[in-house]
């Protein structure tokens, strides 16, 4: 096996980062998606556009601004220092924040689509059947939007695994903290360690294929509102 323990710790770190990012994104993405799918407010357009920004911006742009804002002179960096957390660049927490921003649209948009597809009728039905707003959320919206949650989780996780530019810009390539698989591959290539690069890169291709396979197969069996 040409993979070193450094490679395995990069894989483990990547899984940890992607899992944590996905969980956080589901928690904060759900209310955003719900709001975007229901509101008639003027803010819908601007907020939707901001959420979608990471789709079109090069990761280096996000990474660059994160580097500046999370640094000791940036607003966010000054805030975290005021909280006593120090600056978050070169830390796992910093990567999580970067990944959450970077993968936000990949979680919010499938959820938003799922919530929009449900429409308002089931919510009205639930209300006339004595279900309050929270009750309706858990007993109607969540189960009906389940395919959306599956898609959002898969995309959020996979996209975070595939993250490179942002990590490169704010990570500092620290083993067990910020050296994720994509960076490790880049390192191997730069150091001309092609065999190890191949193993890791090949594993990423296989992973990505199965993720997408799972995604497209689950689409068929999705159950919508009718």
């Amino acid at each position: 096996m040409p993979l070193s323990s450094a490679d395995f710790s990069a894989i483990w770190l990547t899984i940890k980062l992607a899992s944590l990012t996905t969980v956080i994104l589901l928690v904060i993405g759900t209310p955003i998606a719900l709001w975007l799918s229901r509101t008639r407010s003027w803010w819908r357009g601007p907020v939707g556009a901001i959420v979608a920004l990471p789709l079109v911006l090069p990761p280096t742009v996000i990474g660059f601004y994160l580097l500046l804002s999370m640094g000791p002179n940036g607003y966010f960096g000054q805030f975290t220092q005021w909280l006593g957390l120090g600056t978050l660049t070169f830390s796992f927490a910093g990567l999580v924040i970067g990944s959450v921003i970077y993968s936000l649209p990949f979680v919010v948009q499938p959820l938003q689509n799922a919530f929009s597809a449900i429409g308002t009728r089931p919510l009205e039905v639930a209300a006339t059947l004595r279900a309050g707003p929270w009750d309706t959320f858990f007993s109607v919206i969540l189960p009906l939007a389940r395919p959306g949650f599956v898609t959002a989780s898969i995309l959020g996780f996979a996209h975070t695994v595939g993250e490179f530019g942002v990590v490169l810009m704010i990570g500092g390539n620290i083993p067990d903290k910020t050296r994720v698989v994509s960076v490790q591959i880049y390192d191997h290539v730069e150091a001309m360690e092609y065999a190890q690069a191949h193993w890791l890169a090949g594993a990423m291709v296989v992973f990505a294929f199965f993720v997408l396979l799972a995604l497209y197969s689950s689409r068929k069996t999705n159950m919508g509102w009718n």
Partner: protein, 250 residues
């Protein structure tokens, strides 16, 4: 990226006329040499009538690209081993390899007075992050680790090291304040014989292996007059003065 439109155009021209364009030379330039080559390009073009098209990047990355058919004619590496390797593998014009500059390492902080003239700041160890270039890929990174080892500081700073993928990124971490100080190429902070900003310790050459930066004409530049002219120009006294003014030795 590897190929952008202008390079594609050159490639197309080369294909049509069966040889490289007589007036243009495609150069892969190590990131640390970005500023000097820009200064050199103007006078080179004026003196010879040729045009210099430069791409900047990491040496390891250039190696991979060259091995995979990138259209570079001249390669200004950040080290001496990569041009050697390319030569051994038959990707260069025999006898064209030479050292165009010897890099100088500097420990730098954008804060005035933060780094003392002897690098004692390292021993005091009162910083959170020390930025270096990736030692596996970048000669300046390797040199930085040698300096730390020689001073017996490797273990002490181990947990504080942050790595840029190349010397440019190592500089970026420091210049944005995310790392308080870092080992950078003197060329990045030096102009006209002095450090332009902040405070620095110019690391004595004895503390690390020499950072010999070698240049080589690649097979793609075999028949290019512009490539030959560039190599000759880099060896000349006019270029030497400019290179030195950026803090390199020769």
């Amino acid at each position: 990226m590897l190929i952008h439109a202008s390079r594609l155009a050159v490639l197309a021209t080369a294909l049509v006329f069966g040889s490289a364009h007589a007036d243009e030379v495609q150069v892969a330039v190590a990131a640390n040499f970005t500023a000097p080559i820009q200064a050199l390009a103007a006078s080179f073009e004026q003196d010879t009538g040729h045009k210099l098209v430069a791409s900047y990047g990491a040496t390891g990355q250039f190696y991979t690209q060259i091995k995979n058919g990138a259209p570079f004619e001249v390669f200004l590496s950040a080290d001496d081993s990569t041009p050697q390797k390319l030569e051994n593998e038959g990707d260069t014009v025999k006898g064209s390899r030479f050292t165009y500059a010897v890099g100088t390492l500097a420990l730098w902080s954008p804060q005035a007075g933060y780094v003392d003239a002897n690098g004692e700041v390292l021993k005091r160890n009162q910083f959170k992050h020390l930025s270096i270039a990736n030692p596996k890929a970048a000669p300046y990174g390797l040199a930085a680790t040698q300096v730390l080892a020689k001073q017996g500081l490797s273990d002490q700073v181990k947990d504080k090291l942050v790595e840029g993928q190349n010397i440019t990124q190592a500089y970026q971490f420091v210049s944005t304040g995310n790392a308080e100080l870092g080992f950078v190429a003197l060329s990045q902070i030096y102009k006209d014989g002095k450090v332009t900003r902040g405070s620095a310790w110019i690391v004595p050459a004895a503390l690390h292996d020499p950072i010999k930066q070698d240049a080589v004409i690649l097979n793609k530049g075999k028949d290019s007059a512009a490539a030959k002219a560039l190599v000759e120009y880099l060896k000349g006294p006019k270029a030497a003065a400019v290179i030195k003014s950026y803090g390199y030795e020769l």
